[in-house]
Symmetry: C2
Subunit: 122 residues, 2 copies
DNA sequence: CTTGACCTTGACACAGGCGTCAACGTTTAC
DNA sequence: GTAAACGTTGACGCCTGTGTCAAGGTCAAG
């Protein structure tokens, strides 16, 4: 299938698909006219990438999952590398949450000081 | 005082000070040689900006605080506009925390599915 | 043959705060 | 007088995924 169809079926812009390819996450055969020719499996691959991006992964972090799928696993997360990324991501998110909670407390404290009448839930 | 001294006293780079000025947060008289000439009060003003940036405010969001100080208030947060920013920021942070918590849950779920043996605290 | 839809690569733009270099003027200290 | 330290403005780079425009090739339908 050509890039337009893949884009339509995955809901991803052609721009993004080319970008993923540029970063080695997506590959495509080329027709004699130079057009990209995608396999059926690529639909799934792109979906995996999108799902991960959605959850807050960087494109780079989706690589192990893509590789995992390419190796024939039924799920991108079934490989050791992917699991490591999952765990690392969890740690990162926890850290971010801690930072945000600290900020929240800081802002709430400042607010309370500046505006004693303002009640802050939490 | 000149920019170097202000930088040293506040622990902020001269680059940043010029950047703040470029965005209308800082003002300076100019000497006959074109050098910026800062007032004592600017030390405090810069400190206020930095403290807010530290907490996660954008430069733009520090503007009401700066204006507030300029109007002679003892604290940048003593004005209505500042309080509004505080409250808006609290709401934003809460939203971000919710997003992160949702992501965390999502990642944890995926991890649990990919790696049944992996325990995830939380 | 022409129109229009689709494909190609390349490149600029964004957001935000700041590092950093360039090219050049000023002040300070020796 | 001269070098070092400091000042000035201007501009590019970063980071990340994507929008968007440009200039052009390809192909199917009329």
């Amino acid at each position: 299938m050509r890039i337009g169809e893949l884009a339509e079926r995955t809901g991803v812009s052609t721009r993004s698909l080319r970008y993923y390819e540029q970063h080695g996450l997506l590959r495509a055969r080329r027709g004699s006219n130079g057009y990209r020719d995608y396999a059926e499996d690529d639909v799934r691959l792109v979906s995996e990438i999108r799902a991960l991006l959605q959850i807050g992964f960087t494109l780079e972090e989706t690589r192990p999952f893509v590789d995992c799928l390419r190796r024939g696993h039924s799920t991108g997360g079934s490989c050791a590398e992917s699991v490591e990324v999952y765990e690392r991501k969890l740690t990162e998110i926890d850290q971010e949450i801690r930072v945000l909670l600290a900020r929240r407390a800081e802002v709430a404290a400042q607010l309370a000081q500046s505006c004693p009448g303002c009640f802050v839930r939490g």
